[in-house]
Subunit: 469 residues, 2 copies
């Protein structure tokens, strides 16, 4: 596929880089090819588009200084966390400076009594949970990858636990943001709720670096539940597995996780993660959080529902190590899929539909897939109506790319026709711009007006989300 | 207090009204004084500021047509639901047309399987729950007043159930909005989550009519819980009651409601709602939702916590009629407070602080209040850190108004110093503009830029939230 890459203005670039070097020291404006390439690369099939330089910022003030310089020269700024995004969000489509916040990785405050923490944007979710472990608290949002919290905010990430704990939208109390002109703005106070003016916090969550650089986050955390248990149940057909999910949600069972793997994905995980005692059939992974009795109650309800659909072989994992092995396997699903075809790249899709349409959407999508001959395991956060096909492809093969693109297009249009979205959690980047335009046609001019108002020179992560003209 | 009222431009007004009359028929552009006054009046102490005319819209298309005409003549538009707001949000500070959506009261769709509904903006929360009753579903957000869903979106309302079910921020899937130029925009699809572009839904939730007129709402609903029980426990002192709340939240008990009434408010409610078996002491009202065993488990935990703080006399209400009587009394707290002094008006405050600071905030506020001699019962959604003092005052008395204003100012500054907000749920209107500026000083220019971009002529509910220059 063609990528719309335009180098930055050379005069602006040279002037900005000279001023950045003068301000921070030349050695901190990194132009080595490897580092630049890494900062123009995400975890997907999108090609590397390297920035002109990389700046490893150490504080909000430094980000502000750097952005102020870039703004003066109208030179692009691309915020960078750890590079685990999937839609080309970090690609430097117009050149510019990658502002890497990974060294801003301090946990600034833990307010255990208020169930919130304050972190710098470069803190990763695993780092945070490691840090919190002894406090009895946890940060549940889990997109699989060990993403930075700043990056998770920027893409409105969610993942396996969202069915219970919501997405980043629901779990951010306040942000500190460096705006496109270098100003530093705090979007809200630390109160649990507020009706004080426009919800700027939510405006920046999901803005994918196009409105500013998120540098600090006040984040909700949760008490580690008294009891946690996991279970796996396998089905003879995909529809029975999906129906089990749908009825579980409709019954109001507060499952913490409910993940679907199709036969292909389950086979990949069994091989990759050496899971024993399972076969390559449609499978549901569950996790239950609550009190000792609450967890048992939830599990019994779900077991009953699964049995109605022929899922009789409930395998329990109450020991932490067994649970971890299972969820590790689930988390590695993407890499397991890639391992099916060494050297291939993954193109993950991300539609999300109202749950009443989920079975139909998955069934039609799989039927369509069979006709393409493509390899594309399916895994899904099905409690939210969100699922991912991962096309395991050779991006050099025009034929494979064409087949995948056409299938993906049909799947997205199918999801939209069901009042769903093209992206449940991966974001738009530049990979889904045409889908966003199809999904929310009247909303795009409103988004564009907001972008224009807050970033009039279009220096913040340009070329993403929607066209500016 | 002085209110900054400026009449609209007479030429613009006459031209807009003539065109509106030509479009909809003269009889639909209502200029009778009583109707106009009602539309410039909310439930608080703020004085009536009537619009020039009132238009009872019947559809999104009609709102769009009306706003298009107003936009052409740069004449203000003030969206109106049922008028239960509390910060002067409906006051026509710059004259203009009140667009009343109360006749847009159709429930357009109930998607029971997806746990969502689609309603017109004029549907009230009680109407919706009445409609849903036979479906086993409920809409839990409950600000007390029988507000319109559109109005609840506009002010980011919450109320007694927010501790469990969140605020309007968390419960809106998508909005249909008529923008300041008359365009109609749908902000999102019906999927439960999405990462598709800027979160325009959340931008409009809480925008208090300053960015557009909300005409339709896709709303989350919930299954009516298997079991519901309520309990009341009284304490000898306020601090013990607050400490019970704080520990309940910190223990992770998923209470559905947890409301604090101080001695004064409890006395008022006993008198107004003829509650028997209670005394005028600090009191907590609880409601528990869940499975039969879950509800018992929650209640036992809370009972244990209350006992630690001397709250031993747990009174249960498991029968629906007893529960309803209790919550009816709680809902009428505002009117009960007013009844303490016939003819007086209520000035409700709305600070919200991190829960770890709640006891201190309430204690200092009450101590300060005692020194003023003002009558001001306290009621609070204390699980969220949010409480309301209601000054029961004579707005004609400059001395009372001064004392109340000074006390309120001190309370808000106290809450801000604790990293809290000036408004947990009532919104800013024009009554809290100076507090919003104090709370989020760097954010105001960002909000202003967004407003300027989406409403360049400042016709949407002008004079609210923040100054435009």
């Amino acid at each position: 596929m063609q990528v719309d890459v335009q180098p930055s203005n050379a005069t602006a670039r040279d002037a900005a880089m000279a001023e950045l070097a003068a301000t921070f020291g030349a050695e901190r404006i990194v132009t080595g090819k490897d580092i630049r390439n890494r900062h123009g690369t995400d975890e997907s099939y999108h090609p590397t588009v390297a920035p002109d330089a990389v700046f490893f910022a150490r504080s909000t003030e430094e980000v502000s200084q750097a952005v102020t310089i870039c703004a003066k020269h109208k030179w692009p700024v691309i915020p960078f966390g750890v590079g685990t995004s999937l839609e080309g969000g970090v690609a430097a489509l117009r050149g510019g400076l990658s502002v890497d916040v990974s060294e801003m990785n301090k946990i600034l405050a833990v307010n255990a009594d208020d169930l919130d923490v304050r972190v710098q944007a470069g803190v990763t979710r695993k780092q945070l949970n490691e840090y919190l472990r002894d406090t009895g608290l946890m940060f549940p949002i889990d997109p699989g990858a060990d993403a930075s919290i700043g990056g998770m905010c920027a893409t409105r990430a969610s993942g396996t636990n969202a069915v219970r704990y919501g997405t980043m939208r629901d779990n951010v109390l306040s942000l500190t943001v460096v705006m496109a002109d270098g100003r530093v703005v705090k979007t809200a106070r630390r109160a649990k709720k507020s009706a004080a003016g426009y919800d700027l916090t939510r405006l920046f969550v999901g803005s994918e670096g196009t409105l500013g650089v998120i540098t600090e986050i006040q984040l909700k955390v949760y008490g580690i539940p008294e009891a946690i248990s996991s279970a796996v149940v396998q089905f003879d057909d995909l529809e029975s597995a999906v129906s089990t999910c749908v009825l579980t949600i409709q019954s109001g069972v507060p499952v913490a996780r409910m993940e679907l793997l199709d036969d292909s994905q389950m086979g990949a995980c069994i091989a990759y993660s050496k899971l024993e005692g399972y076969t390559a059939r449609p499978t549901l992974f569950f996790e239950f959080h609550g009190s000792e009795t609450g967890v048992v109650e939830q599990a019994e309800t779900v077991q009953g529902i699964a049995a109605e659909f022929g899922g009789t072989d409930f395998k329990w994992a109450t020991k932490a190590e067994d649970r971890n092995k299972l969820w590790e396997a689930r988390h590695n699903a993407f890499y397991a899929a890639l391992a099916l075809r060494p050297g291939a790249k993954g193109w993950p899709t991300d539609v999300c539909v109202p749950i009443s349409r989920l079975a139909e959407c998955i069934t039609e999508t799989k039927k369509d897939l069979a006709e393409t001959g493509l390899l594309a395991p399916l895994v899904g956060h099905v409690g939210d109506g969100n699922f991912h096909l991962v096309y395991v492809i050779d991006p050099e093969s025009q034929e494979e790319m064409r087949l995948a693109k056409e299938h993906s297009d049909r799947m997205v249009l199918r999801a939209l026709s069901m009042d769903g979205t093209c992206t449940g959690e991966h974001g738009v980047g530049y990979g889904k711009m045409e889908f966003l335009a199809a999904e929310l046609p009247e909303a795009i001019p409103v988004m564009r007006a907001v972008k224009q108002a807050l970033d009039p020179d279009n220096i913040m992560n340009p070329g993403k989300l929607f066209r500016m003209n």
